[in-house]
Amino acid sequence: MMAAASPGRCLVTPAGKEGDPVDDPLERFAGLYDRYYRNVLHYALQHAESGSAEDVASEAFLIAWRRWPDLPEPPLPWLLGVARNLLRQQAAAGRRRRLLAERVAALTSEADVTAWDAGEHVVERAAALEALAVLSERDVEALTLVTWHGLDLRAAASVVGCTPPAFAVRLHRARRRLNAALRATDRTEQPPAPPPAAVRPRPAAVPPQPATSTSKERP
């Protein structure tokens, strides 16, 4: 069984639960934890400070422990979905859910800039970040789930609670919008043109958009 449990269903390696051949419940839980805690914390860190993000990740695993029999295979999309809901609860409780572009800006170090410059990019890193900031959180989330987290459509769709086709549409639109924002930003790098309003960084006061999990987008 192991990894062969769901061939072709998902890029995420299924493991840690049904296929995990360890007999002690706590050991199995530890296996799940060791395998996926970093992924969950990674996701939480996109929207919360370290302390809060760690709380969210810890909480997600406690929930997994309590709902062990219900844990789907592969477990990662489920875990990320739980973390997502917890982040939303945190936001509802007054702990501010940070915008991703804001988090990236806050976490950027000298090394990131150097690495960016070493990469083959047309735009500056700061400009790229500015373009990302134009996008809605819903768009940014779609993009990071497939890039930073390496999820396929099916897995990413289950994180945000929509169907894979709906997520595909969401991702497609996010790419298109980012592309447009990059072009606009790129144009702003040319001296004469004044920056279009669209590339203004989003005001920090704009509330995060909790993507309703039941919504279905139409192309």
Partner: protein, 481 residues
């Protein structure tokens, strides 16, 4: 047109490198506390009675049985019938006598080997074919449920009736029913009566509310106590089904199961059965893959596989040979005469230590109760050799509770730590030898009868066999978490 960056590459490369440090830091900081917190949390213990290999014989359907058990327990809590009557469903366990529950009659057996060889000689023949391989079981789990003045424990019991079709493509059924909670022992029953014979137990959870959505505690990573939802009343039965792929049982739960035809070809000699079980142990690779886990020895794995095989659709000769293989294993202890949770007499055997646990306060003995005179496997039980400390059974539903005038109760947690909890707390009378959880086998066998499932409104479709829809993540909006 200008050359442009690929949007996905842009996003990929925007990822700050410091995230990796933060992630590793969080992992290092939290792991210990998070595992301890899970160990201290008994809300939904992931079925200690169903350690993976121990439940190998139950195979995949067992996974659904567990889910069913949880669902049923929740349902029972929601229904929360307040009437306590004497009408316990047939087959429901009576409060068992206090462990170690040694029979007063002197045992005629002095070694585990004698018990096993006698069982091998008394294996009963049974019909070798039928439409369904039916397994009926009753499971129980112990919880502290009393008050400070009258501490006692209850056992939550659930019955399972598993119908595994011989032929692929047919529906297999698991019909389950919460039989309600009963005092765990006669002494517990007395304390329960002294406490006013409560019929329901709730530790701060709103009825119907999932326990999975506990908002954040004050201190991140602090252990949180468990929760209890139980009622003495039985619930209506529920069921789950799946389209069979022909697999009808397991020898090793971590490996693919076998069909009825494959079980019929199982060797009938002791050497043959031993070779099969050894072969299966060699298929397991987890020792190499899980550096954090202590590994069972090959003999321990064979012991577990043998228990599984005893519940599979094999000829009596195979069952007999299996007992002989078990008798030849080293380190098997005779615990003595035991009465199983259904009141049947047998002998308790301990197949050896399980792999190490992360919970320092939980090292159960896994007892196997066998009736040597009928060659029947009666039950498996996890027994605490150590008194398990009383746990606060209250959950902090939200941060406001403390400011709403509810009492603040400190609770002891494994390892001597304390944690505050809010609201009512349940006290147990833990003692050495307490049965923490059990699986009692009511019957196994072929039948030509057909299952009579409860109404379709109670069905849960199982997911991991061909023909079934895949399980989806259920958003919080729908589960109430």
């Amino acid at each position: 047109m200008n050359q442009m960056d690929d949007p996905l590459k842009v996003v990929t490369d925007l990822r700050p490198a410091v995230l990796d440090q933060l992630i590793e830091h969080g992992y290092a900081q939290r792991r210990g506390a998070d595992l301890a917190r899970a160990a201290a949390d008994r809300t939904v213990r992931p079925a200690p009675a169903r350690r993976r290999r121990a439940r190998a014989g139950y195979g995949r359907p067992r996974q659904h049985l567990i889910a069913g058990a949880v669902a049923v327990t929740a349902a029972a809590a929601v229904i929360a019938a307040v009437v306590l009557t004497g009408n316990r469903p047939a087959g429901a366990p009576r409060p068992s006598s206090s462990p170690p529950r040694a029979d007063t009659t002197a045992g005629q057996f002095t070694t585990a080997r004698q018990v096993l060889l006698t069982a091998a000689a008394h294996v009963a023949s049974a019909p070798a074919a039928g439409k369904y391989w039916r397994i009926r079981e009753i499971t129980g789990r112990t919880w502290p449920a009393g008050t400070k003045a009258h501490p006692y424990d209850i056992s939550q019991t659930v019955s399972f009736d598993q119908w595994n079709p011989r032929a692929a493509g047919q529906k297999g059924w698991n019909i389950f029913q919460s039989l309600g909670a009963v005092p765990a022992s006669p002494a517990d029953a007395a304390a329960w009566r002294a406490a006013g014979s409560p019929a329901t137990w709730h530790s701060g959870l709103k009825p119907g509310r999932s326990s999975g959505a506990v908002p954040f505690p004050g201190a991140g990573g602090a252990p949180r106590p468990g929760e209890l939802s139980a009622a003495t009343a039985a619930s209506a039965p529920g069921a789950s089904w799946q389209v069979s792929n022909g697999v009808i049982g397991y020898v090793e739960g971590d490996l693919p199961g076998l069909t009825a035809a494959q079980f019929r070809r199982m060797p009938t000699t002791t050497a043959g059965v031993a070779a099969v079980l050894r072969h299966y142990t060699q298929e397991l690779t987890f020792c190499a893959e899980h550096h954090f886990s202590g590994c069972s020895t090959q003999d321990q794995i064979i012991w577990d596989e043998a228990l599984a095989l005893l519940q599979d659709p094999v000829f009596a000769a195979v069952r007999s040979a299996t007992f002989k293989v078990m008798a030849a294993l080293p380190g098997v202890r005779l615990l003595g005469p035991m009465t199983d949770p259904l009141g049947r007499h047998g002998y308790g055997l301990d197949g050896g230590p399980q792999s190490p646990s992360y919970d320092p306060a939980y090292h159960p003995v896994s007892a196997v109760v066998i009736d040597p005179h009928t060659g029947a496997l009666l039950a498996t039980e996890d027994i605490d050799p150590m008194p398990r400390n009383v746990q606060c059974q209250t959950v902090i539903l939200d941060g406001r509770a403390a400011s709403q005038g509810k009492p603040l109760i400190m609770t002891r947690l494994p390892g001597g730590r304390t944690a505050p909890c809010v609201g009512s707390s349940y006290e147990g009378r833990s003692y050495p030898g307490q049965v923490d959880s059990y699986v009692a086998v009511v019957s196994t066998g072929w039948t030509d009868a057909a299952p009579v499932p409860p109404p379709s409104s109670t069905w849960e479709v199982s997911t991991d066999l061909p023909g079934d829809p895949a399980m989806q993540f259920v958003p919080c909006e729908r589960t109430g978490c």
